[in-house]
């Protein structure tokens, strides 16, 4: 019960800030995830994700605009290192209209089965090379819950609820920022190799130092195993 109250208070706090002096923007975030097993231990994930903005508010000015922001392309190689555990390294290219950011990714994931739900933990770090040789380093922790909506586990042609909660620690030029993400998604499993998810990707940044910066994306994910 305490956890529910915590989440409810957190949600109210976010809403209060959202309509206050903070800045915000929202848009759409479609993504395609392709996964393939190279052997019994090794697998590869290729992901592409685009961002398109619909509206933003900065300095108390609301700006309605349709603007393409960027597209990410990432390739991650993972090795099974234990029972339900994977160690992965990868590279991401963020392609913007005028430049490309490069990011190196390292992550460790654990997936656990429980009676009636599954839970995953992801510990990750990444280093982004930006313009003028600036480097942004992030340490991230994400918890993911998968809750079947039609049975004890998610079978094909069934719906499920997926909730991600992530904490991001960002370091750049001797400055620190804390980010939070909450991503509730409704998923549908066509087959064991194909899933579609739809939901909200809510991000909160810069709330430690200045006015909080809210970002909300309509998230559409397609996971395909080949």
């Amino acid at each position: 019960m305490n956890t529910k109250i915590y989440f409810f208070c957190f949600f109210l706090l976010c809403c209060a800030n959202f309509f206050g002096q903070s800045s915000y923007r929202y848009g759409i975030l479609p993504a395609i995830n392709l996964n393939t097993d190279l052997s019994k231990k090794w697998s590869v994930n290729f992901k592409t994700e685009a961002r398109h903005i619909f509206q933003e508010k900065t300095d108390n000015v609301v700006n309605r605009r349709q603007e393409y922001i960027h597209t990410d392309f990432s390739l991650i190689a993972a090795k099974k290192v234990g029972i339900g555990n994977k160690l992965s390294v990868g590279f991401l290219a963020r392609v913007r209209p005028n430049d490309i950011h490069k990011r190196f990714i390292q992550q460790y994931t654990l997936v656990r089965n429980y009676d009636g739900y599954r839970m995953a933990h992801r510990f990750a770090s990444d280093q982004t090379l930006e313009i003028k040789n600036r480097v942004e380093v992030r340490f991230r922790y994400r918890t993911t819950f998968e809750i079947p909506l039609q049975g004890k586990s998610v079978d094909f042609k069934e719906f499920y609820l997926k909730v991600n909660h992530e904490i991001l620690n960002r370091f750049e030029n001797n400055s620190y920022d804390l980010g939070l993400r909450v991503i509730p998604l409704l998923g549908y499993k066509y087959t064991d190799k194909s899933k579609l998810e739809f939901g909200l990707d809510y991000r909160l940044n810069s709330f430690l130092k200045s006015g909080p910066n809210h970002t909300s994306w309509v998230s559409i994910n397609w996971y395909l195993k080949i």
């Binding site: 992965s88 079978d155 064991d192």
Partner: protein, 172 residues
């Protein structure tokens, strides 16, 4: 090696044979009763899940409402010491590394006997016919999920590999 593939989904009580519903209602259960339809390689069935004396209990019925078995989820320490030793000894030899995920007692008897014993709670203290144990383990350097069925003395009778659901969407 045999593989375990199951598909189950929630189903409303109205779709369950009345024979099965009345049997469940005659047991003094705590909380609500959840009904499932289960499809697996050995046939289709209905399953009622509920709690009694804080124990998670599931009763499986055939499609005509005949009771097939009763399963009760337990902790390892609830297995008698001798059987527990035999089970651990088997798993230690079978896997190089493993973790027990779930243990269920399985009772097979006549519907009348099982329901009577559930009504007066005596089944919760009885030795079962079998223990069904789900294990995540590493064998020959390959991680897999297995289901073992041990008899009441801890002798392994049946083993099946559980094909886990794809978890790419939880990792990326």
């Amino acid at each position: 090696m045999a593989q375990k593939r199951e598909k189950e989904f929630r189903i409303s009580e109205e779709k369950i044979p009345s024979k099965a519903v009345s049997l469940i209602k005659s047991i003094n259960t705590s909380g609500r009763i959840k009904w499932y339809y289960e499809e697996n390689e050995s046939g289709n069935s209905y399953e009622a899940k509920f709690k009694k004396k804080k124990k998670k209990i599931s009763i499986e019925f055939g499609l005509k409402g005949n009771l097939q078995d009763v399963e009760i989820k337990i902790k390892e320490k609830e297995i008698p010491e001798k059987a527990q030793f035999e089970i651990r000894d088997f798993l230690d030899k079978y896997f190089s590394k493993y973790r027990i995920l779930k243990i269920q007692q399985q009772f097979i008897d006549s519907a009348e006997t099982l329901v009577n014993k559930l009504r007066n709670n005596s089944l919760l203290r009885e030795t079962p016919n079998y223990y069904e144990i789900e294990v995540y383990g590493k064998k020959n350097n390959i991680s897999k999920m297995m289901e073992f069925r041990f008899d009441s003395t801890g002798k392994m009778k049946i083993l099946r590999e559980i094909i886990p659901n794809n978890s790419d969407h939880l990792e990326y």
